[in-house]
Symmetry: C4
Subunit: 236 residues, 4 copies
């Protein structure tokens, strides 16, 4: 899990010509996906960020730091290598870039990462309490409870390590980082955004259910059946 | 209640010519009604679905599976028979098609069905707790408490059976399926969407009322009077 | 307080010519004010209604019954006399017309009435609990607590009587009708809509305050000072 | 802290010619920032106000009193001196002008002030309870808990004094005035609006966290590290 393993494949001279088309397509896609965050009430002001891995390269497309959601055009997106070094773009990358980069270095099957401070998910994070799986929609989407990751400060690989270790021990595509907020992953950036939207929805519904009593637990066998079916059958 | 009763009238060769105009009109109506779901905050991402029975045929118009609400044009809607077999459309029908089909086969007076995971209604579902009738608006619209249906897995007729059995034992046009979410019915798809919107509104208001104490119960005779009046007098 | 006192001044032959301009202006204003109800999340579907008294006549402009907020054009508004009889319009007047009419007959200083089922205000109504005055904004706007009116069924003057009796015993321009929802009044329809918006805002804020403890009460003398100042000084 | 210190530099003859360009730019900016208040659900109706100090002069640009958010064009903004006397504009300045003016007179480093009654922050205000710092986002943005200011009536310098004394004793850029609501400050009006948005977000998230238990406290050393980093590193 050392940072140097991945560092050998950085692209210090910018985006290679043969990746230009795919990088431009991802910038458009990542910019559009950022619009889903305020639309689904997952972020305020400039908080939150989406990234996409550039397939076949040690690069990712990510949001610049501290920029308004109104200004998140494809051109504003930046490209970093998987150590988080800026490769292309006029602005500093998101302050959460190191955590995204760590996930891409250590989870090769992952194509997208999302971080928000969505309110209900973050409330569970503040109590360091996993969200119990009491809804068929949670079983479908997350295959069980939403786990809590460790408390970790920004500035080194602590957050990235906490995300990867927690998600490897779970079927969930979402982790609640303690006193911080959720990170979600997916095969693509779109799948990671979907997970962020669904996470906040179930965090909110289970919060409501718990406010007036105790939700009825679901059998593990039922959770397993729903998860298997949804991962294999749903959608087009 | 066997599936084969209805199966004899499927239309394996597509929509008959004499139904073309009515099916196209229903596709337009069902597409427009889907826009009411996110507008009223009843769904996130691709969750939730509306269907309409094709009058005079064993057919229904329903949402395709896993498609964004932004892409729900009339052309995207699919037609199924009342066993849930695709009759017309480029995409798979909603994964909840079997439940809609079961309702149409067993409740001939019903012209529309809606399923959502709207948050407050689903929170009551997760506790398997009926919503008590403590508002005049609930008496008007639902004639009493909102009942809870059984826990049922997707994949066979269990969900459909649970909906029909619960609604037949109640005046309510809404049922809270355990750990899952609400289904609503109506004489038309529009009436079923109205019921879904009103259900979430009363689920939320009674949730708020209960958070700070105990709502004052209403007399059954008053509930009956309000229900009778509203069903017979209200609207144009 | 009998209905016949006012009934002598109805206009069975339609809107008199000399009132045409003012009635048309009020239809435009009342239609526009209805848009404030969904915009401020006070209503769902077709619930809720706004009316305006026609100055110098025993007439009011009000919403038709069961019509979508998207279709509330000036032309759709109807005119009734102060017994609630339709004087002009293609549709039935709101099912709450009798309550509006009663208020206009018995409170000659009132120019506008609004009824909603806004969720937080209605939650207090369901518990039949007044909203305590613990915010400077409540003191400014309502001069004290928001009172609860009696439980009353639709169909005669019971609701109107309950509104008028409760508001006459209070400085508040809003009343929480038991198990039903709020009615607000004002010198104009716009003022009544403002009161409906402010009511839901304070109902929500005090709900939140009470969820985690006990709001600190305000001194009656401070409430009085704020109310006097706001009623005399604020605005243009 | 007397009002007369600043009063000597008023501009009774209007905006000086050499400040015309900067004042017009600030009117445009302050008008645009007001749109962020309803967009972020911080205000209803005409409540809430934003002001900006005119650099190099004892003047500020502020919202007029009692005007709808739809009508807040640059031309509608008014200019006051730092005693709150109207210097330019067709309408009365906001009823909270005296509090804004007091902050500018006594905190020379401050360029913008915002006041709202945003619901969650105001709920903490009504209980006179500081918001504990249990989120990394709070540590980043506010450097610790959000403090409560005294109960103060409008009409003299009491509110301004309460704001300044409370904020001077804290790293927070937000104060919860007792039974009233929040005021936020910033180096610019935009920074003060950002603080108002972030405040409501953390007020809401910590409210949710507290509803189902006790958030896990953060170490003071961690709060300090996050605050130092965010104030020095974040953004472009």
């Amino acid at each position: 899990m050392s940072q140097t393993t991945a560092a050998s494949s950085t692209a210090p001279d910018g985006v290679p010509d043969e990746l230009r088309a795919v990088v431009d397509r991802l910038k458009t896609e990542v910019a559009a996906l950022h619009a889903e965050l305020p639309r689904n009430a997952l972020v305020v002001w400039t908080a939150g960020n989406v990234s996409a891995r550039v397939p076949g390269a040690d690069l990712m497309v990510i949001k610049p730091s501290g920029v308004s959601y109104d200004d998140l055009t494809p051109e504003a997106m930046v490209v970093c290598d998987l150590d988080g070094t800026l490769v292309e773009g006029d602005r500093k990358p998101s302050s959460d870039t190191a955590a995204h980069a760590y996930v891409y270095r250590h989870m090769p099957e992952i194509g997208g990462v999302v971080h928000t401070h969505s309110d209900y998910a973050t409330a569970w994070s503040a109590r360091r309490e996993p969200i119990p799986c009491v809804l068929t929609m949670m079983a479908d989407e997350f295959g069980g409870e939403i786990p809590v990751g460790p408390f970790a400060l920004i500035g080194d690989d602590s957050i990235g390590q906490g995300i990867v270790e927690t998600l490897r021990a779970s079927r969930s595509r979402a982790v609640l980082m303690a006193n911080h907020g959720p990170f979600t992953i997916g095969a693509s950036a779109r799948e990671a955004v979907k997970a962020a939207v669904m996470l906040e929805d179930v965090a909110r519904t289970v919060h409501f259910a718990r406010q007036l009593g105790t939700p009825v637990p679901m059998e593990q066998a039922d959770i397993d059946r729903l998860y298997d079916r949804y991962q294999n059958v749903y959608g087009q």
